[in-house]
C-alpha cells in the first residue's frame, strides 16, 4: 500500500512506526495514532466550515444581485478569517439572570453534535472515521443532541424571545425527524444495510435517486427543516423574533452556533450525496476498465464526494434564498398532516415494490414508475383538496342593492 492508494492506513502505519521507534509499546502507539487521526478529521471538517462561510456569503450575494465580500484576499477568500478574528475579540456578554453553566455549554454541544457526525462520513472508500454498521441510526442519534442544545440555549438565556424561538425550533426539529428517518429507511431497504459505506457501494450499479426520487425530495425537505434554515426558519427570523434562541449569544459563542449550522448544512448535503447520489463513487463501473483504474483512487473519490456535497449544499442554499418563510403552525401541520403519512405510505410502497420486483429485470423501471405514479396520485389528492378549500370562499355574496329592490 502506498500513499496514493491508501493514504490513511499508510500514514497510520508510518506514525505507529515512528512512535514505536521512540520506544512506546504497541497499544499506546495505536491510541496516539488514532487520536491524531481524529484531530486531523475534525480539523478538516472545521476547515470546510471556514470555507463555507465564504461560500455562503458569496452565493447569497449573487442571489440578491450584488457582489458579496471581495476586499479581503482574492475574491474575498480570506473573509472568514476576518470574521473569526472579529468574533474572538468581541466581548462576551452573559445576560443577567442567565444560567451560566447551561448558557456556556449550549454552543459547545451544538457544534460538538455536528462534529460527531464526521466520524462516519465516508469521504472515500478508504478515508473515513469508522465504518459503523448502524451509521444511519447514528445520524439520527446525533441530531437529538443538536435538539437538546437548542432548548438549553433558549432556556438559559432568560429571555422570552429566546424561549419562544427555542420552542418553535425544537418542535420543528422533532416533528421533521419522523419523515427524515423514514426517508433514511428507504436507502436502507434498497441497499440492505445501515452502514453508509455499504449504501455507497450498493449504488455502484445505479444511483438511488433514480430508484426513489421521492425519497430524495422527502429527505431534502426534512433536512432543511432539521437545519432550521429557510423556509423553515421562523425560529431565527430576524424580522420576527430577532434571531430566536441565540439572541443573547455574542462573540465566539454565536460564531460556534453559526459555524455549526453551516457545517451541518454541508454535512446534510454530503449525506444527500451518500444516500441518493452514489457518495464517493459514480463512474458506474468505468473504473474497472484497465485504462481508468486511477478513477478508484481515494483522492479522486474524495474530490467527487466533496463536489457532490457542495452541489447538495448549493441546493439547500438555493431553496433558502428563493423561498419566503413559512408560519410555524403551517410548518407543523405540513409535517404531521402531509409529510408523515406520505412518508410512511412511500416506505410501504418502496418495500413492496422492492421485494416484488427485485428478482426481475424491471427493477429500476418499476421503482421509478411506482414513484412517479405515487407522486401523481399525491398531486391529484392535493389538487382536489385545494379546489375544495378554494370553493368555500368563492361564493358570490348577494348584492345588497338587488336585495333591497325586492
Amino acid at each position: 500500500m502506498t500513499f496514493w492508494n491508501d493514504p490513511i492506513n499508510f500514514l497510520a502505519e508510518w506514525l505507529r512506526g515512528v512512535f514505536m521507534g521512540w520506544g512506546m509499546a504497541a497499544s499506546p502507539a495505536n491510541a496516539v495514532t488514532d487520536i491524531i487521526g481524529i484531530v486531523v478529521m475534525i480539523l478538516f471538517s472545521m476547515g470546510i466550515a471556514i470555507l463555507l462561510v465564504w461560500v455562503e456569503r458569496k452565493v447569497v450575494a449573487r442571489f440578491q444581485d450584488r457582489l458579496g465580500p471581495n476586499r479581503i484576499g482574492p475574491y474575498g477568500l480570506f473573509q472568514p478569517f476576518a470574521d473569526i478574528v472579529k468574533l474572538i475579540i468581541k466581548e462576551d456578554i452573559t445576560p443577567d439572570g442567565a444560567d451560566k453553566l447551561v448558557f456556556n455549554m449550549a454552543p459547545v454541544i451544538s457544534l460538538a453534535s455536528v462534529i460527531l457526525i464526521w466520524a462516519v462520513v465516508p469521504l472515500a472508500s478508504k478515508i473515513y472515521g469508522v465504518d459503523l454498521n448502524v451509521a444511519v441510526l447514528y445520524l439520527v442519534a446525533v441530531g437529538s443532541f443538536g435538539t437538546l442544545s437548542v432548548i438549553m440555549a433558549g432556556w438559559a438565556s432568560n429571555n422570552k424571545y429566546a424561549l419562544i424561538g427555542a420552542f418553535r425550533m425544537v418542535a420543528t426539529m422533532i416533528s421533521y425527524e419522523i419523515p427524515m428517518v423514514v426517508a433514511l429507511l428507504i436507502p436502507t431497504i434498497i441497499a440492505g444495510t445501515m452502514s453508509v459505506k455499504g449504501i455507497t457501494q450498493a449504488q455502484s450499479g445505479i444511483w438511488f435517486v433514480i430508484l426513489s426520487p421521492l425519497g430524495l425530495l422527502l429527505f431534502l425537505i426534512c433536512a432543511i427543516a432539521e437545519l432550521g434554515r429557510s423556509p423553515f426558519d421562523l425560529n431565527e427570523a430576524e424580522s420576527e423574533i430577532v434571531a430566536g434562541f441565540h439572541i443573547e449569544y455574542t462573540g465566539m459563542k454565536f460564531g460556534l452556533f453559526y459555524a455549526g449550522e453551516l457545517l451541518h448544512a454541508f454535512t446534510f448535503g454530503g449525506f444527500m450525496a451518500v444516500f441518493f447520489f452514489g457518495g464517493y463513487g459514480g463512474f458506474f463501473g468505468l473504473e474497472k476498465l484497465s485504462a481508468f483504474t486511477w478513477l478508484s483512487n481515494p483522492f479522486i473519490q474524495l474530490v467527487v464526494f466533496l463536489i457532490k456535497a457542495l452541489i447538495g449544499y448549493w441546493v439547500i442554499m438555493w431553496v433558502k434564498y428563493s423561498m419566503p418563510r413559512i408560519r410555524i403552525d403551517h410548518m407543523l401541520l405540513f409535517n404531521w398532516k402531509f409529510l408523515t403519512p406520505l412518508a410512511f405510505v412511500l416506505l410501504m410502497m418502496t418495500a413492496l415494490v422492492d421485494k416484488l420486483l427485485a428478482p426481475t429485470n424491471f427493477y429500476v423501471l418499476g421503482m421509478f414508475l411506482s414513484n412517479v405514479l405515487f407522486a401523481w396520485i399525491v398531486i391529484e389528492i392535493l389538487r382536489a383538496y385545494s379546489k375544495r378549500e378554494r370553493s368555500v370562499t368563492v361564493e358570490p355574496a348577494e348584492p345588497v342593492a338587488q336585495a333591497a329592490h325586492h
Partner: protein, 118 residues
C-alpha cells in the same frame, strides 16, 4: 480501529474540546467590561415588559408526545428494514401491517383535532 465505539468516544471527547478552544481564546483576547445596561435582557431595544416567564402553548407538548410514539415506531422499523433482503414477501406484509396500525392511530389523532394548532 479495533473498537469502533472507543473511536467514537474519543471523537466525542475531542469534539467537545475543539469548540472550547476558540472560547478560551475569546476569554483571553476579548474585553470584559460588564455593566448593567449591557447585561440586561434584550427585547427589541426597549426595557423588558413583564416577567421573563410566559404561558406557552400546550400544543408543543402534544406534538412532542405524538413524536415520541412515532419515534419508537421508527426505531422498530430499523431491524425490519435490514431483514427484508433475505426474507419472503411475508416479512414485508408484516411490516406493512405494523405501519398501518400506527397510521390508523395518526388518523385518529388527526380527526380528534389533536394536531390542530391551538
Amino acid at each position: 480501529m479495533q473498537n469502533q465505539w472507543l473511536y467514537i468516544g474519543l471523537f466525542l471527547v475531542i469534539g467537545v474540546i475543539v469548540p472550547i478552544v476558540p472560547l478560551l481564546a475569546s476569554r483571553f483576547l476579548a474585553p470584559h467590561k460588564p455593566n448593567p445596561i449591557k447585561q440586561s435582557t434584550y427585547e427589541c431595544g426597549i426595557e423588558t415588559v413583564g416577567e421573563s416567564w410566559v404561558q406557552f402553548k400546550s400544543q408543543y407538548y402534544i406534538y412532542a408526545l405524538v413524536f415520541l410514539v412515532f419515534d419508537v415506531e421508527t426505531v422498530f422499523l430499523f431491524p425490519w428494514a435490514l431483514a427484508l433482503q433475505k426474507l419472503a414477501i411475508f416479512a414485508v406484509l408484516e411490516g406493512i401491517l405494523f405501519i398501518l396500525i400506527l397510521l390508523a392511530g395518526l388518523t385518529f389523532a388527526w380527526r380528534k383535532g389533536l394536531l390542530e394548532w391551538a
